[in-house]
Symmetry: C2
Subunit: 325 residues, 2 copies
């Protein structure tokens, strides 16, 4: 059975499915059946999601949701103040001050990152930070691993002592030195910096668009992750200059605005929900992905990497948006 994203929005983490023969007719033949699966067969991801309850999902908090609006559409970023409080505070101040409005995406390096901010070469020509945004921040590469929600993955990871999910974010954890950090998975958003660890101010942001560059873990202040609209950042033309920078100003991709959802009227906000990562349902989903049991897979992997776990996103069901009684 092949996964069809019928009821779900395109997610930052693609619902990676089988590589099937292309004929749409063939696809149609394999649309998910409505009948219940055989009792002995574990549920597929789609079946698990179809069986989810409202409590398996959580609404995005407008106070930590950033909308990056491009001509092509909206990118939704969930911020992670639990991991980089100073950077997230600056991102909020930058958004409120309209810092990114009219700036641009300046760098798209294939299999690495898309990056946006002020492209000015001349320091003096760079846009000043708005009121409330600080020019100097501490490096926030890791935080204490104590007192964070943590759902460990069953599998080991060469990049970290332990990996799993913390309130929807893929994270590494090391109890030996009491650290936790957001991993550089596809869709992770970090603050660009110079060579000095504390040289990022959150005005330059990048998002991972390829194979997870986990070597950057614990080297960058991570501000969040893209939960929707990832394709607006990943499918951009690659820059041909060094490091994937666009060589000519007209190649840059304009940013219409970057605003906090909480700064918009409720009616102007998207009503998105993400799957909770601290539920039995999520644990079942991880297992369904560790061992694919559908008709396509001939050999289940018995393993999953942190950055291969899908993190489903959906529009809030109408019933949830308008509770009866």
């Amino acid at each position: 059975m092949r996964f069809r994203p019928a009821t779900l929005l395109p997610a930052a983490f693609a619902f990676a499915c089988t590589v099937c023969a292309t004929a749409p007719a063939a696809l149609a033949q394999t649309a998910p059946a409505q009948s219940a699966p055989a009792a002995s067969k574990p549920r597929t991801m789609q079946e698990i999601l179809d069986a989810s309850k409202p409590s398996d999902w959580r609404a995005l908090d407008p106070a930590r949701t950033l909308y990056l609006d491009l001509d092509a559409g909206r990118v939704v970023i969930e911020l992670a103040p639990a991991f980089a409080p100073a950077h997230v505070a600056n991102v909020r101040a930058l958004a409120r001050g309209g810092y990114w409005n009219g700036l641009s995406i300046n760098r798209v390096q294939d299999n690495f990152v898309t990056q946006w901010g002020d492209p000015s070469e001349d320091e003096k020509a760079r846009r000043p930070l708005p009121k409330g945004a600080k020019a100097k921040l501490p490096a926030e590469f890791t935080r204490s691993e104590r007192n964070i929600p943590f759902t460990p993955l069953p599998d080991a990871d060469g990049w970290a002592r332990q990996v799993g999910f913390s309130d929807g974010f893929p994270v590494g954890v090391d109890t030996r030195d009491d650290t936790a950090w957001i991993a550089h998975c596809y869709g992770a958003v970090g603050a660009g910096r110079g060579n000095d660890a504390d040289s990022s101010d959150g005005s330059e942001l990048y998002v991972v668009i390829g194979q997870s560059p986990r070597q950057l873990d614990r080297n960058m202040s991570m501000v969040g992750r893209v939960v929707q609209g990832m394709e607006l950042l990943s499918a951009l033309p690659r820059g041909t200059g060094p490091l994937g920078f666009y060589e000519r100003p007209e190649q840059r991709v304009a940013i219409r605005s970057a605003r906090m959802a909480s700064d918009l009227k409720p009616a102007e906000r998207l009503n998105l929900q993400v799957l909770r990562t601290d539920t039995p349902l999520f644990t079942e989903l991880v297992e369904a992905r560790r061992n694919r049991r559908d008709d396509f897979y001939k050999r289940p992997a018995g393993h999953i990497d942190l950055c291969n776990v899908p993190l489903p996103v959906r529009e809030a069901p109408a019933a949830a948006a308008k509770p009866k009684r």
Copy 2:
């Protein structure tokens, strides 16, 4: 020091570098110095490549090089007959018979794959296979691990007993059941199939454009990998239909031609070289990437995943093309 791809072609595996502050002026200041590095400091990847000898590189073999020509440019695919001899033989026959000429890229699923072939829904409308191409092939998910060149990586991998490189291809190996297979890293090219293991004929090909979907390892017949032009496949608009298929025929990306380099006149071929993976220099490069020692990285990872190892590609130096005496 930041890596600048000054002398190298854009490679299928991006030379993932640091996430720097964007100002090009700042970049220019950090261009690789020509002076020798301090004796105590390990060489960076760029320094290693700069010091490479002609024998550290190998020319692509025209008999196993496929050119996929799109309006936007050429994608170069190195085929792997050592891993899927029947499929590669079919790919050669399909290319020679002009099978893909005028067909299209029909599917681009974000963070997963780009796929091309005949988009016809109606089986009867599908283009017949040319002479020499077989309609039925055996599944070639793995091969014997004996007698293949193999440079193991120092790090463990949750997806395979052992991982490393075989003649330039990232592979998994398991001596317990005597198998080896090409891993689904960024740029890997496989043969799409239906639910039956032996239902691929090589006419539908896909390439990995996101986080490595290693769960497909040992489930697909892998025909090769993209060595140049990856951005022509990874930056395409994502399909909005199920599984990332383009919903309207006009969204499909036309294939001008797909030809074997060996079927072109020598003057029409690209003169590309790829870094050999069975040399001390490559081992040094892997270590340089396992532990970044440049000024940007504050904490070397001490680890690298199979799909994070860059596989450099370059145009053959003029001196090599025209040996003196």
